[in-house]
Amino acid sequence: MKILVCISHVPDTTSKIQFTADGKSLDSTGIQFVINPYDEFALTRALWFKEKLGGSVTVVNVGKANTEPTLRKALAIGADDAIRIDAEPTDGYAVAEELHSLISLEKYDLVLMGRESIDYNGTQVPGMVSALLDWPFINACVGMEVENGIATCIREIDGGKETVKASLPLVVAGQKGLVEEKDLRIPNMRGIMTARTKPLKVVPSVSTIVATQAVQYEKPAGKQACKMVSSDNVKALVDLLHNEAKAI
């Protein structure tokens, strides 16, 4: 099975998010960038498929040269080769067009992505790629098996789960459950060494669309100080929730 895993390069989850003084962009000073956590589940699942069914795992990022360490990390985790599509990924639709063009050329059987990026939280690129390709799309996927060219996927829905069948090729946007947290592969020394020599190809950008533009960045309003209630007087909390917060 020829598998593509799309990797988004995002600020580490512990990052303090700050914007530049003019509010026009993210201030990335001091921020460490990592593989989007959802994409790690997709990558490990892809490696399992390869080990069971044969084939290859390619990772791709749409980004400038500064994302290459993130792709190298994916190679160290076990991907066979990496592609960087050389574009500033400022619009999800444009990112989807870049990926669409690559996938049409390379004819993958399965495209695995993350449910959403933890930076812009767009929840858009995987579905857009599926629509551009006219392939089936499974979002919020928490479990997946492939047999005889048919994928059986479990997706999260509001208040439950749905099991869905679709033929390959397809696009899956996954999350924890695709593999468990404890199963996530991490780079070992041998992986890091071999990652240096694995191919990382840079291909030019093809997309011309711009669907949206981020015009202003803002921090959420700060919280008031917390009101403490004595553990001997929980009734006071009920009063506050009713009369002050109007939450009950």
Partner: protein, 321 residues
């Protein structure tokens, strides 16, 4: 010209978030000086005229055997048809799991600007500018559409509804044949659970609760409040609770009216998914727990002592009110 809104139903009953989406569409359409077309897909046992109370001028009910269950491709094709045949400006939908599945398909089908995670009304409509949540609750970004059409996916339980009184005309569209490329095998709903993104009150437990056998007190508290239940990531990783309850940066993001966190330390990744809650109560035995900095109300103490007392006090309150 008009604004189309997708009104999701589950087994024939409208989801609460669908009313919020209609109300949002009506307020947006008013800014644009146009009307709202609500689209209902599949069998629906609810009275469709209820959509008028949130501002729908027209209701299109697409129903036939190919539309019995949710399917991203076929449901998106219905909405694309509704937009194209009415020359609509765009689509509003709720960011439920199903809404998130079809939003991007609509964007491509309509060559539209998709803006998700929307948490307020548009700042302007020509060009369309709207604020959305980003960076896992750590920021907001105002987006501008660069396309003629738009798809806005709104955060459930975010903006709320405004009730109005519009009498809507209802039209049945039986003959639409919808393409599909995947097939439902089965559905497994958590029994009795209130789906998290929609729950107005959420009671959540962390590692401080020591083990899954202690969740009765969380469920008792939730049941008095009519609340959904949630948990921190390690709790779901250890299988004390199902994954679907994991909230935070890598779980579900929620913004209920009230979030009660019990035995949760308040790690940055946890806060990322819950800090948009309107009121936050923290119960923790450690006065230095970081969660108190993000809370509105706090009680320092042993959860095993406080939670049953709080449940009893709330029962008494509910009996009187």
């Amino acid at each position: 010209m008009s604004v189309v809104v997708y009104t999701e139903n589950w087994e024939g009953k409208f989801k609460k978030a669908s009313f919020e989406a209609v109300s949002y569409a009506a307020r947006t359409a008013a800014q644009m000086g146009t009307e709202v077309i609500a689209v209902v897909i599949g069998g629906c046992s609810d009275d469709l005229s209820v959509l008028g109370s949130y501002g729908a001028n027209h209701v299109l009910h697409y129903s036939n055997s190919s539309l019995d269950h949710f399917n991203p491709k076929s449901y998106a094709s219905v909405l694309i048809d509704a937009v194209n045949s009415n020359s609509a400006h765009g689509v509003v939908l709720s960011g439920s799991f199903n809404g998130k599945a079809i939003g991007p398909l609509l964007a491509v089908g309509l060559k539209a600007a998709l803006i998700t995670n929307v948490s307020s009304l548009p700042e302007s409509t020509a060009p369309l500018r709207v604020k959305r949540g980003a960076f896992s609750s750590k920021g907001y970004v105002v987006y501008e559409s660069k396309q003629e059409k738009f798809v806005l996916s709104i955060v459930p339980n975010g903006i709320g509804v405004v009730e109005v009184s519009v009498s809507s005309n209802i039209e049945l569209k039986g003959g639409f044949s919808a393409p599909s490329n995947s097939e439902r095998v089965s559905v497994d709903m958590a029994r009795g659970a209130i789906p998290l993104p929609e729950a107005e009150i959420v009671v959540s437990g962390g590692r401080g609760l020591k083990g899954p056998e202690n969740w009765n007190m969380v469920e008792d508290l939730a049941s008095v409040l009519g609340a959904g239940t949630a948990c921190s990531k390690p709790v779901s990783d250890m299988h004390w609770r199902p994954h679907s309850e994991h909230v935070g940066q890598t779980g579900i993001a929620i913004n209920p009216n009230l979030y009660i966190a019990i035995g949760i330390s308040g790690a940055i990744q946890h806060l990322a998914g819950v800090s948009n809650s309107k009121t936050i109560v923290v119960i923790n035995s450690d006065p230095e727990a970081p969660f108190f900095k993000a809370a509105d109300y706090g009680i320092v103490g042993d959860a095993f002592d406080i939670v049953p007392k709080l449940t009893a006090a709330l029962k008494e309150f509910k009996a009187q009110n």
